[in-house]
């Protein structure tokens, strides 16, 4: 029995003596060395999470020892709010002297808004573990979509430009921002606008046009990625028909009509009594007038608010006392507006000539008749005396 006890103790001693040959012991040196290993940086992608988002966190661990490697057995991160989705570092790994090694984990969170502190733990082979709290925010603030400029009213088939602004009030960047415009009876151009990345606190203006066929509602949707998570924000814009109070309003004035060789010349001024610029203002005559050279159509050009320009149109017209003169212009979106103003031409035309000359024609007729009467009477008197 004594021999057995001696053999057992001898074996224990032998095994104990052999241990340093296969693994290091936790020594004061190894503990000091582990103390020089630290977390250099922590990066979350996305920078801030929405509730329900998934993403990654990358922890950079640096071995601050100049001539001693560190062996780690296991690395992990997470808590009950920030859940770890993968376990890529359950095996041992070596961090060389003065080297930095990234540890990247997939995580997700269903936590409500707030700041969370998941714990990163790193267990050393020759020392205790390293613990580090890496704070991360869960923020459900969406992107802001605001209207900068939109017309007061729309009109059927007329294109109007809208200016909106997409802003990112979050603390981190978002990617792949796309604005989509849709609605029943709406033709939007462009229907989708790719904005791209939008930095934290930044904003970007977006212009698009709407051509409605009916009063309706335009749906504006901004899709964006927070990390790899798709989010969207929407806004509705009412599209109602009516008269734009600020639109350009060219008005003809100082209209004068002259007639030469059967061609009527109508001259006048066009004043823009509206608040917006009237582009490509043109004046021409309509049926029953037949436009004639040299001014079949007169292009006045662009007229700013309160500005005016002169015009001259030439046309022929038979048996017409009034001729409609059409004034057309475009707005900034290229929509064509027309206005028609009747112009009396009889005052100077052939009809007027007949009227005007009616009185003056009577005088020579009377004179001629008197001459004939005098001649006949004179001869009658002469013949009577002759008898």
């Amino acid at each position: 029995m004594k021999n057995a006890q001696v053999l057992f103790l001898t074996a224990i001693l032998l095994l104990s003596g052999m241990l340093p040959a296969v693994s290091a012991f936790t020594t004061p040196d190894s503990i000091v060395a582990a103390g020089n290993v630290y977390v250099a940086n922590t990066t979350y992608d996305p920078g801030t999470f929405f509730t329900g988002d998934s993403g990654t966190v990358t922890v950079l661990v640096t071995n601050g020892n100049a001539n001693q490697s560190t062996v780690v057995n296991h690395a992990t991160i997470g808590d009950k709010d920030i859940r770890l989705m993968s376990h890529p570092y359950d095996t041992s790994a070596n961090i060389g002297p003065l080297q930095t090694r990234p540890f990247t984990f997939s995580i997700e969170t269903d936590a409500p808004e707030g700041t969370y502190y998941p714990t990163f733990s790193l267990s050393f082979r020759d020392a205790d573990s390293l613990y580090y709290r890496a704070p991360v925010k869960v923020d459900n603030t969406p992107l802001e979509l605001s209207t900068i400029e939109k017309p007061d009213t729309f009109a059927q088939g007329q294109k109007k430009t809208l200016d909106v602004r997409i802003a990112n009030p979050r603390e981190s960047d978002v990617r792949n921002v796309v604005l989509e415009v849709s609605g029943d009876g709406i033709t939007a151009a462009p229907a989708r606008t790719f904005v791209g990345d939008l930095a934290a606190g930044a904003s970007v203006p977006v212009n698009f046009t709407i051509t409605p066929d009916q009063p309706t509602t335009a749906h504006l949707t901004v899709d964006y990625n927070n990390g790899d998570n798709l989010h969207s924000v929407a806004m509705d814009l009412p599209v109602s028909f009516g008269i734009d109070k600020t639109q350009a309003n060219p008005v003809m004035s100082n209209v004068q009509v002259t007639s030469t060789a059967g061609i009527y010349h109508v001259t006048g001024d066009v004043n823009n009594a509206g608040l917006q610029t009237a582009y490509t203002v043109m004046v021409t005559s309509l049926s029953p007038a037949v436009p004639q050279d040299p001014y079949k159509t007169y292009v006045v050009g662009a007229l700013k608010s309160d500005d005016f320009g002169s015009f001259e149109v030439t046309f022929s017209a038979s048996n017409a006392a009034v001729v409609p003169i059409q004034l057309s212009f475009k707005d900034a979106d290229g929509n064509i507006y027309t206005a028609v103003q009747d112009v009396k031409i009889s005052a100077t035309g052939q009809n007027a000539a007949t009227t005007t000359n009616g009185s003056s024609t009577m005088l020579p007729v009377i004179v001629a008749v008197v001459l004939v009467v005098v001649f006949v009477a004179g001869w009658a008197l002469y013949l009577r005396r002759k008898k």
Binding site: G262, I263, A353, T354, A368, F375, L383
Partner: protein, 223 residues
């Protein structure tokens, strides 16, 4: 060579003039000369009167201006010559109703003398035309115009130009005055050439002339 100015007596005393002329042989030279001068004066007046029309057509009938002027001048000249024959023929035919006797040549001779006032009338018309024509505002019909309505309107507009209308009215009145003067001469001419009573001669000449003047007055009023 002494110019025989005795025919000027026809202006103030046509009866006495034709009383002498009927005793002489038929001689168409002086009447023809009178008509010829009248035709030349008429052609000169036509030259001025047609100017606005040439301007009107200048765009549409480019290069045709001289042709139009020539045609108008020639037409005015020929029409005067034809009117001599026409007046004589009409008076001759009407006088047949009153049993007029006498050759057509004699009638032609007497009617030719009656064209003497037409020369004065033509000269006055020429002066009037030279006064009014520059005042007529006329714009050429654009080249390439195919619309007949446009051309018609342009022509109508020209005719209703104030200066053109004044010219037309004045010339019409002048022609009526001098036609009545000529008619006065023609009555005596027909009386002697066709051996008619004064009353019958007055009717032979007066009826056609009055009808023509009434037509002229109608046109004047229809302007």
């Amino acid at each position: 060579m002494k110019m025989d100015n005795s025919f000027l007596k026809v202006l103030v005393n046509p009866s006495g003039f034709f009383q002498d002329a009927i005793t002489k042989n038929e001689n168409l030279k002086i009447p023809a000369l009178i008509v010829l001068i009248s035709a030349v004066v008429g052609a000169a007046a036509a030259y001025f009167i047609v100017t606005p029309t040439v301007t009107l057509m200048s765009g549409m009938l480019s290069g045709m201006g001289p042709v139009i002027v020539l045609a108008a001048v020639a037409a005015a000249f020929v029409i005067t010559l034809i009117s001599w024959l026409l007046y004589a023929g009409i008076f001759y035919l009407v006088s047949i109703l009153f049993h007029g006797k006498g050759s057509f040549n004699r009638t032609l001779e007497m009617i030719g003398y009656g064209f003497l006032p037409q020369i004065f009338g033509g000269l006055i018309s020429l002066v009037v035309a030279m006064h009014y024509i520059p005042q007529v505002i006329v714009q050429a019909i654009p080249s390439g115009t195919q619309d007949s309505q446009v051309i018609l309107d342009a022509t109508t507009s020209l005719m209703h130009d104030p200066a053109m209308m004044a010219l037309t009215q004045t010339i019409t009145l002048i022609s009526i005055v001098f036609l009545l003067w000529s008619a006065n001469i023609w009555i005596f001419g027909i009386q002697y050439s066709r051996h008619l009573a004064v009353r019958d001669a007055a009717l032979s000449v007066g009826l056609p002339v009055i009808l023509y003047i009434i037509y002229s007055i109608y046109k004047l009023g229809a302007l």
